[in-house]
């Protein structure tokens, strides 16, 4: 944006805020320096662009249509423009300072620091000594799909994207009514209603490939009242470790495994035997295979088979 344009826009904001009655485009052209030199059509185009730019940074411009006038009038209503008076107690300022640092380096970092700047400009004392405190909070939003999905959630717009389910060899297009985004264990999920499956679903953002397209008009998505986003993403309470494996462990090796096991029987042949709780034999097999020739799963047979399968796979 050129300096001249910034000046014109600032003058336009002041002009529209200062006026008591709405001003016609022509009156604005006379009052705001920077417009006067242009022809009618050029002025109209310029004025349209300027209004759009002001609206984009959140400035509410009222368009007033008076039945007695041919042309609409414009003004900015002070009440909808201004940050309401807000004062924070010291403890409130400390909390806000802690909250403001959460998004540093993430997609919403600019929004958070913009908010903080406005509050400070409004005379709110915010606590900036937080970085040195005993607690630091960060959220990251590395997934390329995050900004588009955030916008869609905010604007309540339907989205369409290509998605690869876990372990799947192919990518499918999904059309989803976005209800919200959830961060769980360092990963972001979209929770919403999958139009194709006709059911609520959660999607991991890192498995979305390519661009997220918005479909339809803003405001067209209805979030069901009382929907529990966390529950849609969370596993229904991690199941208790229901089964027990018996594993032979080389003497002196696999300290971690020993610490996590429920029982250790010291053997005499250079191998000890441990018992370990588990639920999913494949997960257990992944871990045991990674320990190589230091362990041997004795029981149960399905876990033993799964380890053998993995090791044979690594041979190929």
């Amino acid at each position: 944006m050129s300096r001249r344009k910034t000046e014109r826009l600032l003058n336009l904001v002041i002009c529209l805020l200062a006026t008591r009655r709405p001003l016609s485009a022509e009156q604005i052209r006379q009052a705001v320096p920077g417009y006067d030199r242009d022809g009618d059509e050029a002025f109209q185009r310029m004025f349209e662009r300027d209004k759009n730019e002001l609206r984009e940074i959140g400035i509410p411009i009222d368009v007033v249509r008076d039945p007695w006038e041919d042309e609409p009038g414009y003004r900015i209503e002070r009440q909808s423009y201004e940050l309401p008076e807000i004062t924070l107690e010291a403890d409130e300022a400390a909390v806000l300072g802690l909250a403001a640092q959460v998004w540093q380096r993430a997609s919403l970092a600019e929004a958070a620091s913009g908010a903080l700047l406005k509050l400070r400009a409004g005379g709110v004392a915010t606590d900036e000594t937080i970085g040195a405190g005993a607690l630091e909070l960060r959220l990251d939003t590395r997934d390329p799909a995050f900004p588009a999905l955030w916008d869609a959630v905010r604007d309540r717009r339907l989205v369409r994207f290509d998605y690869r389910s876990a372990g799947s060899e192919s990518v499918r297009s999904r059309t989803v009514e976005p209800w919200g985004v959830v961060s769980r264990r360092g990963r972001w999920y979209l929770a919403g209603f999958d139009r194709g499956r006709d059911a609520p679903r959660a999607f991991r953002l890192s498995r979305i490939t390519g661009q997220v397209a918005t479909v339809g008009r803003p405001g067209s998505v209805e979030v069901p009242p009382g929907v529990d986003l966390r529950a849609m993403v969370g596993f229904p309470e991690e199941p208790v470790e229901g089964r027990t494996a018996v594993i032979r462990v080389r003497e002196g090796a696999c300290e971690g495994l020993r610490q996590l096991s429920t029982a250790v029987r010291v053997g005499s042949d250079g191998w000890d035997e441990v018992e370990l709780g588990f639920t999913d034999p494949e997960r257990l097999a992944g871990w045991m295979a990674s320990l190589g020739a230091d362990v041997e799963v004795v029981e149960p047979p399905d876990a033993r088979e799964a380890v053998i399968r993995r090791l044979k796979g690594a041979l190929a």
Partner: protein, 321 residues
């Protein structure tokens, strides 16, 4: 916030800031707005050219910065900042809700949290409150370790940890001087000076198998500087060897789980990934875990090592099956 596209919003915050901080110093204001003093003076000169229609000297905004002290007058029309946008308000509201969801972590005084949320929601209007309730952040609960770690932090006591490192399948005893808690992407870490590593370390609370508060005052050495977690917690060292793997659709979790320097789609869900390996043992463990869902491309010698280790492991099964 020094790009020219951001200039108008900045000026609309700068003027109210100067109105509410009369006599502020150039250097201080430049710092708040992330500008150099030269850029700030340029902004002030621009503001000085603007004002009410008519644009006679009496209509224009009056700014002076004699002796570095900024005074502003005749700017009543834009004396208040612009109200918070939906993104701005919701960024703060989401973070505040996250704090509210972890009371045992964030020792927030009294009812300050709900009070701030209420004030912000009032300042931002309905839209922002609705959006922020559509974002949820889950924080891992680790009550046992947390209780003792917190005690160590508040009483400034040295801690004795038993810490599990899954990549090596090791549990190591460590004595540490706790410095602060860091919550990144929903996981809680203790930032501390580790006497075993003789360096600053971040330890995940859910991997602490035991925490003991020692009756020794925490006394981290002078070189114990906070770790910059802005780049993420899991940062492989650039001196670690760059290795390459090819994984099938079932092995794609590798690319999601570890920070990769390069990820190439090979079709049918297969990927080639380049990542920094801490050491060869770590890479060997990963390759064995992957089984037929992944293989090491580079270093080429690694493929043979994986094969040998798998063979050795299988021989144990052969004699009993």
């Amino acid at each position: 916030m020094s790009g020219s596209a951001d200039r108008l919003p900045r000026l609309l915050a700068l003027v109210p800031y100067l109105m509410s901080h009369p006599g502020a110093q150039l250097g201080e204001v430049a710092g708040v707005f992330g500008l150099s003093e030269k850029q700030l003076i340029d902004d002030l000169q621009l503001v000085w050219m603007c004002g009410l229609p008519g644009h006679t000297p009496g209509d224009l905004i009056d700014v002076s910065w004699d002796g570095g002290e900024i005074l502003i007058d005749n700017a009543d029309t834009i004396a208040r900042p612009l109200r918070l946008g939906i993104d701005e308000a919701s960024a703060l509201l989401v973070a505040l809700r996250m704090l509210a969801a972890m009371p045992e972590l964030a020792e927030v005084p009294g009812d300050a949290l709900p009070r701030v949320v209420a004030k912000l929601e009032r300042a931002a209007g309905e839209g922002a409150a609705a959006v922020s309730s559509q974002v949820a952040v889950d924080v891992d609960a680790t009550p046992d370790a947390l209780l003792r770690v917190r005690e160590g932090l508040t009483r400034r006591r040295r801690l004795s940890l038993r810490y599990y490192v899954p990549g090596r399948d090791e549990v190591t005893p460590r004595e540490v001087d706790p410095m602060r808690l860091v919550v990144v992407d929903g996981r809680t870490y203790l930032e501390c000076w580790c006497y075993r590593a003789e360096a600053m370390r971040l330890f995940r609370l859910d991997r602490m198998l035991g925490v003991e508060v020692l009756e020794v005052a925490a006394d981290p050495p002078a070189e114990a500087e906070p770790i910059d977690v802005a780049q993420g917690v899991f940062r492989p060292s650039p001196t670690d060897e760059l290795v390459e793997l090819e994984v099938t659709a079932a092995g794609r979790w590798v690319a999601e789980y570890y920070p990769c320097e390069e990820v190439t789609e090979l079709g049918e869900g297969r990927l080639r990934v380049a990542l920094r390996a801490r050491d060869e043992d770590w890479l060997l463990k990963l390759a064995l875990r992957l089984g037929d869902t992944g293989r090491v491309l580079s270093p080429p010698a690694m493929a043979e090592r994986v094969r040998q280790e798998a063979e050795r492991a299988l021989s144990r099964y052969a004699h009993r099956t």
